[in-house]
């Protein structure tokens, strides 16, 4: 039976659990327009729509209203793949594009309507990679629209690391297609320069008995708005969506998630953790989980935790769980936003540990449990080093 938990701490956390009939699903209808590949099907948002109400439209550099025009060398993409993997650059008409999901908002549709070529990375069936596939997306200061497909055949196993660096205005869709029994871990690191704007929809379709692990790590950029979405192609699928963000002064980092339990006996586990510091640092987390009427045996949990390190930062955290069947294993959500605990600081300092070191311990501790679940050693190390770097910047 359903069990749920909601621990709002701080005024900007809200949560809801709805038991709804299929016809009036709020998760499905909260978007102001139905999904479409064509940007013309979406009106230009004015900012009061449910899906845009937290986003500073004026800082999107025109991605939302059609005025952002792609420049020649906007973004450079390089893919490094171990043997056995096929990497192709294909045109708009390639039949393999757009199979994992349809754009659900105007910017995703703009990206789909505007990209010129797409990258398709294919891991053939039963191929088990021992080295990660590395995708480097480097902003060269321009505007770009992108599309990437990562497809794993049945029982293939792969780790993909996507790095975003430099300065760019980028809107993109990323498709993950997992065959039956496939295992895919994707780590998407947003380590942009200060001015970058990055809006993307990630669509995963998880095959029968397949496992999908998404790790989203957001540090940089002016505005980063990511929308990972998961649905299942058969029973027995598993999705883990992990996220880690460090929102600095003036940054807007928004992570919106949807797990659509459209097949029976699937699992999902969502854990996003963020730290915020500085004036006008704004983190938004929207966690939508829908358990459809036919998805009996579903087991799902979602959690968002925020650690506010200084005054002036703001968190909006909204978990939504919608349940159309009671025949499930478990469903729950939790959201909490807390301030840095001065008593922890006192305790550590009373043991001789200098203030900076004490803060570092606490913040590393806050993220450590999540970092340990990534399962890619060099990424874990890099993230901890990056967290240290962020903290050092705050002390300086």
């Amino acid at each position: 039976m359903a069990e749920a938990q909601n621990i709002p701490v701080g005024s900007t956390t809200a949560g809801a659990i709805a038991v709804a009939a299929e016809a009036d699903s709020t998760v499905a209808t909260r978007m102001s327009a139905p999904p479409s590949f064509d940007v013309a099907d979406f009106p230009v948002p004015h900012g009061r729509e449910e899906e845009w109400r937290f986003t500073p439209l004026e800082r999107l550099r025109g991605l939302h209203d059609g005025t952002a025009v792609a420049t020649g060398e906007g973004v450079k993409v390089a893919v490094g793949a171990p043997e056995g993997v096929t990497v192709e650059t294909v045109g708009r008409d390639d039949a393999r594009l757009g199979r994992a999901g349809t754009p659900v908002d105007r910017i995703a549709a703009q990206a789909y309507s505007s990209f010129e070529s797409a990258s398709v990375v294919t891991v053939p069936k039963e191929t088990v990679l021992t080295e990660p596939i590395r995708v480097v997306v480097h902003g060269e200061g321009g505007t770009a629209y992108g599309h990437t497909v990562v497809e794993l055949g049945a029982f293939a196993e792969a780790v993909v690391v996507i790095d975003h660096t430099g300065d760019a205005v980028l809107a993109a869709n990323v498709d993950y297609v997992l065959g039956d029994g496939a295992k895919l871990t994707v780590v998407s690191v947003q380590d942009w320069d200060d001015k970058a704007v990055h809006v993307a929809q990630h669509n995963a379709i998880v095959g029968r008995d397949a496992s999908f692990k998404s790790v989203v790590v957001t540090f940089g950029g002016d505005v980063v708005r990511l929308h990972p979405r998961v649905h299942y192609a058969g029973p027995g699928g598993e999705a883990e969506l992990f996220g880690l963000y460090f929102t600095d002064k003036g940054q807007h980092q928004e992570h919106r998630l949807l797990v659509d339990h459209n097949e029976p006996h699937c699992k999902s586990n969502v854990v996003y953790k963020g730290a915020l510091q500085g004036d006008e640092a704004h983190a938004v987390w929207i966690g939508d989980v829908l358990i459809e009427a036919r998805a009996e045996g579903t087991d799902t949990y979602e959690m968002n935790r925020n650690l506010v390190l200084t005054d002036g930062a703001r968190v909006d955290s909204v978990p939504n769980l919608e349940i159309e069947t009671g025949e499930i294993v478990g469903a729950g959500h939790a959201s909490a936003t807390g301030r840095f605990d001065d008593e922890q600081l006192f305790y550590l300092m009373a043991r001789g540990i200098p203030e900076y070191e004490a803060r570092r311990l606490v913040v590393r501790g806050f993220f450590a449990e999540l970092v340990q679940q990534i399962g890619v050693a060099d990424i874990e190390e890099r993230l901890l080093a990056k967290i240290d770097e962020e903290l050092e910047a705050s002390v300086a």
Binding site: D341, D342, E343, Q344, F346, Y347, L348, M349, A350, R351, G352, I353, P354, E355, E357, A358, L361, V362, R364, G365, F366, F367, A368, E369
Partner: protein
């Protein structure tokens, strides 16, 4: 020989939009090798004294001096006080999620000793200290104070006392909430540190029970924000029989 000198210490705290004076002129000298018990009724200011000495930001020093070997303690930040040799075993140790005991102890020892302890000897040192306090080795991998029982929290405090080897240790109601077995284990830990002769101990307690295990050289009765009476161990016996009543009344009329 290390000496902690407290002279005419006045401390206030902000509560309910009002400033309240809690310590009203405390005088006390604690020398290395000595054990002082500070006893008093609830609300007398015992814990305020402990936290003020450690530098908790909640408390404002409005008068008096505190020196450790002549150095001005009140000028030091919380971590500087610890590195200078002050240690506060807390009544309510704080949970630090995601930070393991072993990482915490090593970071702390590195800070207090001024250099990272050599890994091999350090592991042995911690293991032996934990064994003496009847702590399971798995303890080291747990997060600091997270999910600890009352007894585990106090053992963990005394473990730090043994490892950090301060000049002056302030034990704030270390005995409260402990059953007799835990009290014995914790007291033995304190006694091991005392027996080195290198620590001055300020044992703050509400009950005389712990004094059966830890024998003080001096006993002070704390009432109404200052030391109301000082004596030898016999003063504890008097308190055991008569309670704090005389001092509470005296405090109220003073």
């Amino acid at each position: 020989m290390a000496t902690l000198e407290i002279r005419d210490l006045h401390v206030t705290v902000e509560a309910d939009n009002a400033t309240k004076e809690i310590l009203k002129g405390v005088d006390l000298t604690v020398k290395q090798g000595e054990t002082h018990a500070i006893m008093g009724p609830n609300g007398s200011g015992k814990s305020t004294l402990a936290y003020s000495l450690a530098g908790h930001p909640k408390y404002t020093i409005t008068g008096g001096t505190v020196t450790l070997d002549g150095e001005d303690v009140l000028e030091m930040s919380v971590d500087e006080r610890a590195r200078a040799g002050l240690f506060l075993a807390m009544q309510y140790p704080v949970e630090v999620p995601g930070v393991s005991v072993s990482n915490f102890l090593r970071t702390s020892a590195t800070a207090v000793r001024g250099e990272a302890p050599k890994l091999r000897t350090w592991v042995k040192e911690v293991k032996e200290a934990m064994e003496r306090l009847s702590m399971d080795p798995s303890f080291a991998e747990r997060n600091v104070n997270e999910g600890f029982s009352g007894g585990e929290k106090k053992r963990h405090e005394i473990l730090q006392l043994e490892l950090l080897k301060p000049k002056v240790a302030i034990l704030d109601e270390t005995d409260s909430g402990l059953d007799v077995d835990a009290l014995r284990v914790v007291s033995e830990g304190v006694n091991r540190v005392r027996e080195t002769g290198e620590v001055g101990t300020l044992l703050i307690t509400h009950y005389t029970r712990i004094l059966r295990y830890i024998k003080p050289d001096h006993v002070h009765v704390f009432a109404n924000g200052r030391i109301a009476e000082s004596g030898g161990p016999e003063l504890a016996d008097k308190l055991e029989n008569e309670g704090y009543e005389a001092y509470v009344k005296g405090g109220a009329s003073a």
